[in-house]
């Protein structure tokens, strides 16, 4: 039986496709924002709506694509997203992660993730979990049947209906950051002395790297 260390429990939605790229997660026209919030209503914009989206639009006037999984009644309010291979590939846009969070997702489960997307998730407290294909398809069926999914991050186990479905691997540092909400920059700056010492030595060995970049008018 599971213990009480539940990081998150919630309804899940299956997005049954490989190679979902960050252009699909948040199309480029929404990247003009200089903020980190407000992207949720345009998450998967092209698939979610029948018309072309643009920033500042009156959403009430847009027609939803009823076939898209996020628009299906039983999946509304889902906060765990389940997908397949290479989720988050393509552009490094962190806006993709901000969109998923702004929509309400807390966890993304997939067969695999693109490297940059995965880092972006951790840097924003969105938990990416990689599982085997058979485990993902089992979770997708459970989600289809309206079962909630529980994520025990401490013990790295996923449950549904009090039964263990899968265990998962996670980088210990990333786990700590998600659980404790660490200020990563602050943490890195505790190494400021080491960085300075490295930099001094590096400057001595390769001084050209440290040339001033002066932009004269042209």
């Amino acid at each position: 039986m599971k213990n009480s260390q539940i990081f998150h429990k919630g309804p899940a939605v299956p997005l049954d496709r490989d190679n979902i790229d960050t252009d699909q997660i948040i199309p480029k026209q929404f990247l003009k924002s200089i903020k980190k919030s407000g992207f949720g209503s345009n998450l998967f914009d092209t698939w979610r709506y029948k018309d072309e989206g643009f920033p500042g639009q009156d959403l009430t006037k847009r027609e939803l694509n009823e076939d898209f999984v996020l628009n299906i009644d039983r999946f509304k309010g889902a906060d765990i997203l389940i997908s397949k291979k290479n989720f988050g590939c393509g552009s490094s846009r962190e806006h993709a992660v901000w969109s998923l969070i702004d929509y309400g997702f807390k966890v993304v489960i997939a067969e695999s993730f693109a490297d940059i997307f995965k880092n972006n998730c951790f840097n924003n407290g969105l938990l990416p979990i990689s599982l085997e294909a058979n485990e993902v398809s089992q979770l997708m069926s459970l989600a289809e049947n309206g079962k909630e999914i529980e994520v025990d991050l401490e013990n790295q186990i996923i449950f549904a209906e009090d039964t263990e479905i899968a265990s998962f691997e996670i980088d210990p540092f990333q786990k700590k950051c998600i659980l404790q909400g660490l200020d990563e920059i602050g943490l890195s700056l505790t190494h400021a002395e080491e960085i300075k010492a490295f930099e001094d030595n590096h400057r001595t060995k390769s001084p050209w790297i440290f040339n001033q970049v002066l932009i004269d008018d042209c």
């Binding site: 980190k36 590939c89 790297i209």
Partner: protein, 463 residues
């Protein structure tokens, strides 16, 4: 112990490894553009932090800039939201004293074109940018990778990237390329072979006679698309070609510093007996001009190939989106627009390659629009000095000002719903080049020939 080039670059920049296994990697150069930096500067400010080393940074606006009406500078941006983003970059650079090639500077351009062109990208460096195509710079034997905005803030504040070491993959392309086959075809063939996630978790070193005989600009095209195979890092060993390219670039070291630098740079190769976690071999002479038919760069085939059977769900989705049927010849795909540009293919050699095909010819009447967008103001100037602009214009192309343009279509350069485009860019994702747009990734010469014929043709036999 024998090391790969990636191992060497990593070791030279690893500040410390922490107990949890992550390392702080010192960053020599940080490239900044308007789209992925505003939130990082805001975060820095809110935390009361300052950039660690100002002169490590260089900025230029590229994603949002229009490719017309550039003499108007910032006022040429008609989209107010986009304009605010470029103005925010100006303000952040001003406030933090970060050097910038601004929208009116003739050195402005796509950040991955500008860095090498200015000698701001130098062999042996670690380079990051909030853009996945930062892998481009690996062509100059650098350790370069794309990062997210939180990491941009982290690099600004600490001059380090918190990361873990990647595994090593070597892609060896031996033999000789057939005439008409270009670096773009090489990189698409690599992606076709290893798949769009084949390089996830790896740094890919490209090697073999095809790479050795390739120019630096060609190597940049190949390294650029490493991320389309899932690899954050692509690199090529330092050689004489690299040295000749870097020499006399504006910000490259001079005199004694040059001698000292080149002595170090000549060590930037993998040891002969270095062991790679994965080896991929491709016969260069077997590579044909490549065309993508789907919505992922791995959905690619030879110019004389056919659209494949829809054997899996991904292919079914892709063919439905692209409105293509299995068994159709690639050369039967008709095109609406042509785009020559992007950080993959907007350098002078790319423009020469396309102009060589276009010279004395007109684009087909069925082509609604064909645009060529040089990678930087200096590429544009060079092309104009060589008369390439005239060749493009006389053939029916529009000669535009530098920027990312229709590669990601954040600016007004976009495909219409349902239009097919022969594009020298790097991503054929759904809607990437415009809502409902259908992208076929190709080389500059294949794009140019397609412009003339209105459909794809084999440039190997094209006269």
């Amino acid at each position: 112990m024998s090391k790969t080039l990636y191992d060497k670059l990593w070791e030279k920049h690893e500040v410390c490894q922490r107990e949890d296994g992550t390392s702080l990697l010192y960053i020599d150069r940080h490239l900044i553009h308007e789209v992925t930096s505003p939130q990082a500067f805001e975060g820095l400010k809110l935390a009361g932090r300052k950039p660690w080393r100002i002169s490590a940074n260089i900025a230029t606006p590229d994603h949002n800039v229009p490719t017309t009406e550039r003499a108007e500078g910032i006022n040429g941006i008609k989209d107010e939201v986009a304009k605010l983003q470029v103005l925010t970059l100006d303000a952040n650079c001003e406030e933090n004293k970060i050097p910038q090639f601004d929208i009116l500077d003739k050195r402005q351009g796509i950040v991955h074109v500008v860095g090498p062109e200015q000698g701001l990208t130098l062999p042996g460096m670690t380079i990051v940018c909030g853009d996945s195509h930062t892998s481009t710079h690996g062509a100059l034997a650098t350790l370069s990778m794309g990062i997210g905005t939180s990491e941009v803030e982290h690099v600004l504040a600490t001059q380090c990237l918190k990361t873990t070491k990647l595994k090593n993959m070597r892609v060896t392309i031996d033999g000789e390329l057939k005439e008409g086959v270009t670096p773009k075809d090489v990189t698409l063939a690599v992606i076709g072979k290893i798949g769009t996630a084949g390089g996830t978790g790896y740094a890919i070193e490209y090697a073999g006679s095809v790479i050795e005989n390739m120019s630096i600009e060609g190597r940049m095209t190949v390294c650029n698309m490493s991320i389309e195979a899932g690899a954050r890092v692509g690199l090529v060993a330092y050689d004489e070609t690299t040295e000749l390219y870097v020499k006399n670039k504006p910000y490259a070291p001079k005199d004694n510093l040059w001698l000292k630098a080149t002595k170090q740079w000549r060590q930037l190769t993998s040891h002969k007996d270095a062991v790679f976690d994965q080896e991929v071999k491709i016969d260069g002479s077997s590579i044909a001009p490549q065309v993508t038919w789907g919505t992922s760069p791995e959905m690619v085939c030879d110019i004389d190939g056919l659209i494949p059977e829809a054997s899996d769900e991904s292919t079914q989705y892709a063919l439905k989106y692209m409105n293509l049927k299995p068994g159709t010849k690639i050369t039967d795909i008709t095109l609406d627009q042509i785009f020559i540009g992007s950080c993959t293919n907007s350098r002078i050699e790319d423009l020469r390659e396309a102009a060589n095909i276009l010279k004395g010819k007109k684009i087909a009447d069925s082509i609604k629009r064909a645009i060529v967008v040089p990678g930087s103001g200096l590429v544009s100037q060079q092309a104009e000095e060589e008369g390439l602009d005239k060749i493009f214009i006389e053939s029916g192309f529009e000669w535009r000002s530098p920027g990312c343009s229709m590669c990601l279509a954040m600016n007004p350069d976009q495909l219409g719903d349902g239009e097919h485009c022969a594009s020298t860019s790097n991503r054929n994702f759904e809607g990437r080049q415009g809502y409902g747009g259908r992208t076929h990734l190709v080389s500059p010469s294949t794009a140019a020939a397609a412009a003339i014929e209105g459909c794809f043709v084999d440039v190997r036999s094209y006269k």
